[in-house]
Symmetry: D2
Subunit: 361 residues, 4 copies
Amino acid sequence: MDERNDMDQPLTDELRELYRRFDEHALSPLWTQLADVMTDVPKSRAVPFLWRWADLLPLAERSGELVPVGRGGERRAIALANPGLDGRPFATPTIWAAIQYLGPHETAPEHRHSQNAFRFVVEGEGVWTVVNGDPVAMRRGDFLLTPGWNFHGHHNETDQPMAWIDGLDVPLSDYIDVGFFEFGTERVTDYSTPDISRAERLWAHPGLRPLSGLNRHVNSPIAAYRWEYTDRAVAAQLELEAEGHPATVEQGHAAIRYSNPTNGGDVMSTLRAEFHRLREGTQTPSRREVGSSVWQVFDGRGEIVVADNVWKVEKGDLVVVPSWEPWELRAETQLDLFRFSDAPVIERLNFERTFVEGRER
Amino acid sequence: MDERNDMDQPLTDELRELYRRFDEHALSPLWTQLADVMTDVPKSRAVPFLWRWADLLPLAERSGELVPVGRGGERRAIALANPGLDGRPFATPTIWAAIQYLGPHETAPEHRHSQNAFRFVVEGEGVWTVVNGDPVAMRRGDFLLTPGWNFHGHHNETDQPMAWIDGLDVPLSDYIDVGFFEFGTERVTDYSTPDISRAERLWAHPGLRPLSGLNRHVNSPIAAYRWEYTDRAVAAQLELEAEGHPATVEQGHAAIRYSNPTNGGDVMSTLRAEFHRLREGTQTPSRREVGSSVWQVFDGRGEIVVADNVWKVEKGDLVVVPSWEPWELRAETQLDLFRFSDAPVIERLNFERTFVEGRER
Amino acid sequence: MDERNDMDQPLTDELRELYRRFDEHALSPLWTQLADVMTDVPKSRAVPFLWRWADLLPLAERSGELVPVGRGGERRAIALANPGLDGRPFATPTIWAAIQYLGPHETAPEHRHSQNAFRFVVEGEGVWTVVNGDPVAMRRGDFLLTPGWNFHGHHNETDQPMAWIDGLDVPLSDYIDVGFFEFGTERVTDYSTPDISRAERLWAHPGLRPLSGLNRHVNSPIAAYRWEYTDRAVAAQLELEAEGHPATVEQGHAAIRYSNPTNGGDVMSTLRAEFHRLREGTQTPSRREVGSSVWQVFDGRGEIVVADNVWKVEKGDLVVVPSWEPWELRAETQLDLFRFSDAPVIERLNFERTFVEGRER
Amino acid sequence: MDERNDMDQPLTDELRELYRRFDEHALSPLWTQLADVMTDVPKSRAVPFLWRWADLLPLAERSGELVPVGRGGERRAIALANPGLDGRPFATPTIWAAIQYLGPHETAPEHRHSQNAFRFVVEGEGVWTVVNGDPVAMRRGDFLLTPGWNFHGHHNETDQPMAWIDGLDVPLSDYIDVGFFEFGTERVTDYSTPDISRAERLWAHPGLRPLSGLNRHVNSPIAAYRWEYTDRAVAAQLELEAEGHPATVEQGHAAIRYSNPTNGGDVMSTLRAEFHRLREGTQTPSRREVGSSVWQVFDGRGEIVVADNVWKVEKGDLVVVPSWEPWELRAETQLDLFRFSDAPVIERLNFERTFVEGRER
C-alpha cells in the first residue's frame, strides 16, 4: 500500500458514516486517495504501445470496402486506441492519432472544428486537402496543417487509394471541454490540383514574410511542409557534423522542428511536430520527458525502446511514449522518423522536465 | 441519434468482423463516435453544482474529530466531487476545490508537488502556511499562493480550529500526466507567526519591484493578497462608477484579477483568480465562456444562475460552472464573490471564446 | 593618432582630388574616421556632471519672478545642459532633466506630445498634474507619470511656490525624429484637488488588476507612485537583510524599480526609474553600464563617484552618469536616491552590457 | 516665429542676467526653445536625397586604385553623408549606408563590433564574407547579415573587383553611446569558397528549425537570404494577385520582409530590411512613416517621389527618406527595390505612426 494513503487508521463505524455523508454531499476526502491523484512522478494510465503499419493498412483498406465516406461519419479514420485508456480512441490522454484512408475519386466533406489537426504522409500521393478553399497536395514525406477552425475536406483525384496519418488534440479538447464543430459543404470547394498551395506560395520561403501577412498568427500559415525541404535540412545536419561542425542534437542524430515562421514557435498551439534522422548504427541515450508523444517510422529499420519494450520497427510503424516513460532509438540502417507530441501544452503551462541519462540537466 | 454518428449503415457480419479486428489491434473507428468526441459546442461531463457552506463546515469539523492530520494523508482536505465526474474528487475536469480543516495546534506537514495551489479564507484566522520557510498568515479575505514545487505546510497556533478552501490544478495535472511529488519535513520549518510574510514585504508594494528580483517569475512572488487591498480595490471601482468614471466591468459590477506583478499575467500558470463585488440589486447579463470555474460567496446574499439552476447563495457557498454553461449573478444585498478558473490554460492554448447576452463579440 | 585611422598614407594630390569628389557627391570615407564612429568602448560626448540643488532652486525662483508661464513657452522648466553636448538642453544624449517651478495659483496649460515624461518631487507639495482630465497630487517623494500622447497640465493651488524635476526622452526623440506635439486647453480641465488620482484608485493596489483594464498597456497606468509605498518597500529590504534574508541588491543597498503592473516592465517605453536606499556607511562596488542615467539625492549625505569625480552630495543634488563611465555610491548617513535612465532603450535594442568591479558577469 | 517660442517678452537686462547665470551653471530654459525640441510633427535635419550608382561606382573604383584596404581603415567603404547632417557619414540620424569595394584577391581583415551590419549586393559576385569563421558567398540579389559582436571579414577570390552596399546602425549607436569594437585576425579565418554558408545549411529551410538551435536568438541566424528565394517570393505574390487572391500589399505591389525565423521579427534588433516588386505602371499612394529609410533600386526603372522631389531612378540608385517625409513609388517598367530602415527601433520604443493617403488608419 502506498505510504501516502496509509493512515494506519481502522475504518470504524463512525468513519464509515462520515464517508457516507461525504458521498451524499458530493464530497471526497483527500487523505484516502492522495497517492492516486498526486504521484511521485507522472504515472500515465496510457501504456507504451506499438501499432504496425502492416496491420493498419489492410484494416484501412478493408474499411474502404465496407464503410462509405461522407457527411455524418465525415472521415474514414481509424484511431489508435491506447489499451490503457478504456477503449477510447485516444493514443495518449492528449493526442489523437489515426490512419485515414480515401479510395479513388472519393471526397471527405468539408467541416471545421476548434481542434487542431495535421496530416503526415508515409506513402502514396494523389489526395488534396482543401483548407479554407486552398487545395494542398499530399505526397510522401509531407506534413500538412489544418489548425483549429479552418474549413477542410479531402478528395482523391486518382485511381489509387491513399492512406496517411492524422494527428489531433481531440483527447485534450474533449477533456478540458473546448471543442466547437461546424459542417461545411458536402463537396470540397475547389477541386483544382496544384502542385503547391497558395499558402505555401505566400509563406514557404526561408526567412521571408509577406508584408501583407504581418498580423498575429497563432498557428503557422504554412499549409504544408514539403518532404524536399525536410530531407535537405536533416541531411545537411549530418553533413555538417561529418565536416566537424556543431549541427546535430547529438552524435549521429539530426532533427528539425516544424515551426511557425511568424513567431518561431510550434506549428500549432497544442501540437509539436519534428522529423529525426539517425545515422546507421546510432543509439540515443535514454530520455524521459513530461508529456506524451507518438513516433512513426518514415524510412529504414531499427529499434524503439520504451520502458521495458524493445520494438523492431520499420516503415509506417507507430509507437506511443506516455509521459515520463524512458525511451531510446537504435538505428539498424539510416533511420528516419516523424514525431509529434503535446509538448506545447506542457511548456505553455510550465510543467516541462527532461531527464537524459548520463547528462546533468 | 446524432446526425454525425448516423452512417445509415446496417451492422453487417462483415462490418462486425472488421470492428472485432479493430478491437484486436487496439484501434477504434472515428465514424461511429465522432459526435461524442467532437461536439458542436463544449458539452462537459461535469455538471453545474452547488455545495453549501452549511453542509461543508460540519463535515469538516467531524473529520477533525475522526481523522488525524499528518504524514501520509498529508492534509485534512475534503474535495468537491462533481457528480458528473464518476465520483472522482474533481470539481471540474481541470480544477480541484476542497475545504481544508486544521484543529487547534495541529500541523499539516511540509511537502511539495508540481501542481499549483492556492488558499482562500472565507472565515477565521490563526493558521500560518509556511512556503519554502516563509510563514504566511491566513485571515478572512486573504488569497494565498503555493505555486508548483514550493515546499509548504500549515500549522494552527490558536485554540480554535480553522477552515478554508484549497484550489489546485490536480485534475488537469492528473489527466495530462505532469505531476511530481516530494515529502518535506514532518513539522513546518518555521513556527514564527509574523503578520505578513517576507514575500509580501519584498513584493506587495503597488508597482514596485525589488531590484534583487528581476529574474524570470513564472508564477507570482506575492505569497498572500490581503483582504485590505482587495476590499479597497473593488470599493474604489464602485465609487469611481458612482462619480461617473469608467471603472467597473459593467454597471454595478466591480472586479479585480489577482495578478503576477512581474508580468501582469495570472498568478499561476494554470489558475486564474478574481474577486467580484456587486452593488445591491445588480444583475449581470448571461455569459458563456470556454473553460470551467468555481465561485465562492464571500459576503452578502443573492442568486447564482447556471443553466437551469437558480441557486440562492450566502457566505461560503460554492458553485461550479462547467465550460460553456451560461451563468449570471443577482445581488440581493451587496454581494462579494471569489472566483477561480482554468482560464490561463484555455487562453495559453488559444481556445478562448466568450458569449455575452446582448453584446456583439 | 588612433591605430584605426592611421592608414600610413600620405595625402597625395590624387587622394585630395578623390576626397573633393566625395564631398561634391555627399559622400564620406570610412577609413579616415572609423575610430570616431566605432570606438573600442562607448565614449560619450556627454560628461559626468553635478548640478547642486542650492544653485538650481534660486535660479528657478528668479525665473518665477521674471518669466511668466503660459501658452507658448508652456512650462517654466530649466534644463540641465550637459557641458559636453554643445549647449543643447540635454542632460545626456537621450535624457532631458529639468527643474520646473510653479508659483502660487499659477497654471501651466495642457498639451500633449509623443515624448514620455515623468515628475519626481524632492520637496514641497500643492501642485496637481492633470493627466487626461485626472488630477494627480504632487508631494515630496512622489514619482508621477505622463506617458506619451496624454494631455497634461499643472496648477498650483497654494500660496507657496513649488519646484520639482521633470524627466523626458526629448533628446532621443529629437535625434531619431519621432515627436508629435499638440496644444490642449489653456487652463487645466479639472481644478479639483483629490488626495489621490482616479488612476491610482483603479490601479495602485499590489498585484490587483481591474477587470475593466485588461487591454494592452504599453506604459504604466499608475499615475503616481506614492512616497509612502516606496519608503516602505526599501525599508523592508533593509530589515529583511538585517534579519538574514536575501532582499537587497548587495549588502546595505536596497532598491526598487518603478514598474508597469500590466507587464512587469519599465514604467514607460524609453525611461527607467528606480529608488535606492543605502545604509549609513555603505559603499557600492564600481559599476559600468551601457546607457546613461541621472541620480538625484532625495535624503541624506554621501558621495557619488563618477570616473575621476568624487562629489559630496546632499538633498536635491543631481548627477549625470554618461554611458560606460564607472560610478559608485558612498553613504555618509542613510542615503536615499532617485535614479532614472535610458535603460529600456538600451535593453530593447539589445545593447546592454554591465561591468561590476570584483564580479564575474 | 513659432508660436511656442514666442513669449511676447522683451529681453530685459534682468532676464539677460538670468540667462547668463543659466549658462554659468550649465542650464538652459525650455521656454525659448520648446519649438525646436518638440515639433508639431517630426522634422528631421536629414533631407531627402538621391545618390546615383553611376556616381558611386566610379568613385569606389577610384578609391580601389588609391586607397589600400587593411588593418586600421578596415574597410574600403564610402558612406552616404546626408547633406542635412553636418557632413557626418550618416545617411539618416540612425542609419549608415555605404558602398564597399574590394579589388581582386584583396582581404578586408576581421573585426567585430556592437553595431549590427548587413550587405546587399546589387551586382557582381566573387567575394565571401566570413562570419565567425563561416564563409558566406556574396552574389547579386543576396542580403547578408553580420549582427552585432560577430567577427567578420571579406575576401575577393576573383580577378574582378566587387562592390556592394553596407547598412549599419552606426549613427544610432554613436548617438546613444553603445558601441564596442575589437580587432580580429588580419586575414580571414577561412578562405574556402562554398556556394552557401554553414548557417544557411542549418537554418535556411522554410519553417524548419534545427533541434540543436532552440536557444534564444536575438538576431536572425540566417547568414544570407539568397536572391533565388526573394525573387520567387515576390513573383508568387504578383501571380497570386493575378489569380484573384489576396497576397500583395496593394494592387501591383508585392513585398517581403526579411525575418528572424526564431521569432518572426526583424532580422536584427535595430534594422529592418524588405524587398519590393512593383508591376509595370504601378503607383503607390503617398505614405508618411515615423522613422527613416533607404531605398536602393535593384532592377527596372521608375520614379521615387520624396516630399517635393521626383527622382527618376535605375539600378543601384539610392534614395533616403527621412522620418515623416511623404514618399511614393512609380514603376515605369517592372521595378525591384531593396529597402532598409530603423523601424525596429521606432516600434520597440512605441513611437510608430503611419499615414497613407486615402486610407483611414
